[in-house]
Symmetry: C2
Subunit: 451 residues, 2 copies
């Protein structure tokens, strides 16, 4: 590895993380008089808002992934490194990966968040979350494998457990997963099985608050709930999950607790910051919030270290509104662009304004023809909202990588009601379908899982 810092006196900007924040910063710095290094542990940028579509067999992993080297091909000042940063030395301005180091003049940290099980990490192998391609393929295997297992099961109770899908968490990801699974059961797979009626599948969406999509306007939450109910989802609010075991979830509503037998339990309930937030906190004393997010200054740098910026889901920005900015793609994109501009302004000696987020609205898709969109000044539902969602996503997808194939795949799925990407992969066989061979990710850190 060549360390650009040692080559000449041009400042070296290092971005860690190729998500929306890191990639937008890198693109905006492509013409700046700096040496730029983007480090990511994966060789592709992942369009996370569509990950639920991989999990439910609508599109393939490559359809929502853009090779980082390809996206940054025109950045002549940029090297891409495939590596995982393990440590930061803010005083010597050094990053560590394994036994090697890289020095920086300016550091942009954008490593995002991972799932959070609120102290019940043992649930992870049973109720997978949805953050990576591997997560999505695991969910896909579990979902389609459950229908296959139900088809073979002759015991009615066990069959019902295979046909019960529990989604924990009523935020956008939970809503999208529940809607997509309901469409599978009630439409896509309806005629594919001989011994089960897939429309009898129960899709349970559990939310602890009093309504789903809690950050949205109450009327949109209500509309989302009624749209989901129409699709065949059983929405349960004010419902807490108190235990998850192989084959069942325990839920509490008020004072009553009950056991729901279910072989497919999907986690969409919480996230925590990636570990570099903690490292930064230990090394610089910068405060972090309860989820481990780094509390940043009004220009997205951290207190005492004006050359270290934290952006995207890893950052907690509290200088606008009465809550920190949400962990969504538009915030990360705008933060990435802001920091890039800040760095360029600094090089020219220009003055800086604090970061200010321009909220263009929130949106969540429920199913074909159904979505909710909150533009602030206007709220949309139904097919208009769905079309808004489709075009917003196509716009961002093709911006990077001209993924027109995804558009065509959507069109095709929409008119044929098909799901082309419904492969059960990752295991060479499905001898008997159990949670063990429905699989866990190769990299799952829990040793308790049988392979």
């Amino acid at each position: 590895m060549v360390d650009p810092k040692t080559q000449d006196s041009i400042p070296h900007v290092v971005i860690v993380g190729g998500g929306f924040g890191g990639l937008y910063a890198a693109q905006a710095l492509g013409n700046a008089p700096v040496k730029l290094t983007l480090i990511d542990k994966r060789n592709f940028h992942l369009f996370q808002p569509l990950l639920y579509q991989v999990a439910t067999g609508i599109v393939s992993p490559a359809d929502i992934s853009s090779p980082l080297r390809l996206v940054l091909n025109n950045n002549k000042n940029t090297q891409v490194l495939l590596d995982r940063v393990t440590d930061i030395d803010p005083d010597r301005q050094l990053l560590t990966f394994g036994d090697r180091t890289l020095s920086y003049d300016t550091l942009i940290l954008a490593t995002g968040v991972k799932h959070h099980y609120f102290g019940n990490e043992q649930w992870q192998s049973i109720a997978p979350g949805l953050k990576t391609i591997e997560d999505a393929l695991l969910m896909r295997r579990r979902i389609y494998g459950a229908f296959e297992a139900a088809e073979k099961e002759t015991n009615p109770e066990k069959r019902k457990a295979w046909l019960t899908f529990v989604i924990v968490g009523g935020g956008p990801t939970g809503v999208e997963l529940a809607g997509a699974i309901a469409e599978l059961a009630h439409s896509v797979l309806k005629n594919d099985f001989h011994h089960i009626d897939t429309t009898e599948a129960e899709i349970l969406l559990l939310e602890g608050m009093d309504r789903i999509l809690p950050p949205y306007a109450p009327e949109l939450s209500a509309r989302a709930e009624s749209d989901l109910t129409d699709l065949g989802v059983n929405v349960q609010t004010k419902t807490l999950v108190t235990n998850v075991t192989e084959g069942a979830v325990t839920v509490r509503q008020g004072d009553t607790e009950k056991l729901v037998p279910a072989r497919t339990i999907l986690w969409a309930a919480g996230v925590k910051a990636s570990s570099l937030g903690k490292v930064l906190n230990e090394k610089t004393g910068v405060p972090i919030d309860r989820a481990g997010r780094v509390i940043v200054e009004n220009n997205l740098s951290i207190a005492g270290y004006p050359n270290i910026f934290v952006i995207g889901d890893l950052a907690s920005f509290n200088h606008q509104g009465d809550r920190p900015l949400p962990g969504v793609a538009p915030v990360a994109m705008q933060e990435g662009k802001y920091v890039a501009k800040w760095i360029k302004d600094e090089l020219c000696g220009r003055t800086h304004a604090p970061f200010c987020y321009h909220d263009a609205g929130s949106l969540a898709v429920i199913g074909d023809n159904a979505a909710v969109v909150d533009l602030g000044w206007m709220k949309l539902t139904g097919i208009i909202a769905w079309l808004t969602w489709v075009f917003a996503h196509i716009y961002y997808l093709i911006e990077f990588d001209n993924k027109l194939v995804v558009m065509l795949q959507w069109g095709w799925n929409y008119f044929t009601r098909g799901r082309g990407a419904r492969l059960i992969t990752g295991e060479d066989s499905l001898l008997t379908i159990t949670p063990e061979n429905l699989g866990t990710k190769e990299d799952l850190p829990l040793p308790a899982v049988k392979r």
Copy 2:
């Protein structure tokens, strides 16, 4: 699981294997007065001729896979079972999967072949073959991971080993892989790296015979070799691989033996029959050939058991020409259709003619604009052959599943010289790139492999 045999007196036809042979038989029996069960261990039919395109990042797994339930949706007499047949009792007409059984009146075995390392099975974890989606994703990870590792490597010798790709076996798969990797190195990835020149990569195609594509006409072999050389492939014929270790392959040419350091070694050299061939041999005394293929009668049934048929790559059909029919998709398709017709004729009391293969020609693709096609009465090369290859494959792809998206993806790749599906997946990180974390399939049976 419901056993159709017990339900009524309609004959029960069971097909094991949803490849080209099994699926064509199932489709042709969809309107027959039989109960039909198709058993496969995977939930999808795989279009194997394009598997090398998944291995090299041209298309996604779902693009060449068709869900079996979807393909057989119109077969009202057909149930699909996801299971692996472990035993056959030909006298009681029973199949065994694990602890369950299924009875049949007529059995069609179409379970194909797997890789063969000719007694050197320990090479498998180092030099993966290409038969399944998981194989292809493993190859994709190894190929793209090798370029990433080379980019980080500062030792020139080690870097050269990362940039050396050895393909063992000069049949169609080996030729297709070598051509596609050469296109990556010389065209697709040319501008993506900062510290390596990908055009310096060495792509070695090794063949034991005196020419590549040995079953083809000699002039086509010569043309394929010159086309590959133009693409940047180093073709070595009369070359035997005598050893494979992590990081090197030992090759013998005549009396000289040499060690070639290479971190990416791909196996395209041999196949053997799946294990049900052996089971059938033990249970019925039917002869099998050296590769374990079942030697069939002139109607594709086996000696002494007129209700058991073996088709596709698992069958060795010696009643036409001086060699057994080759293990290619057209043979399997025609055999599947023939057996279906045989069964239908039998139900009507019609007489049967022996199976006769109509050879429409052989073809192998070398790269964009280059292929060789042997139609018997005519030989094609260059762009005409390539267009023939493209249209033949599109025809068969869309026949099953209207995969027009693949066509568009090809068109897109062709004009942009892009490779959209070049994800390195399956491991959450690529901390240091070594054969261990470049990965092995989850189901790889060798315990020697570190995870």
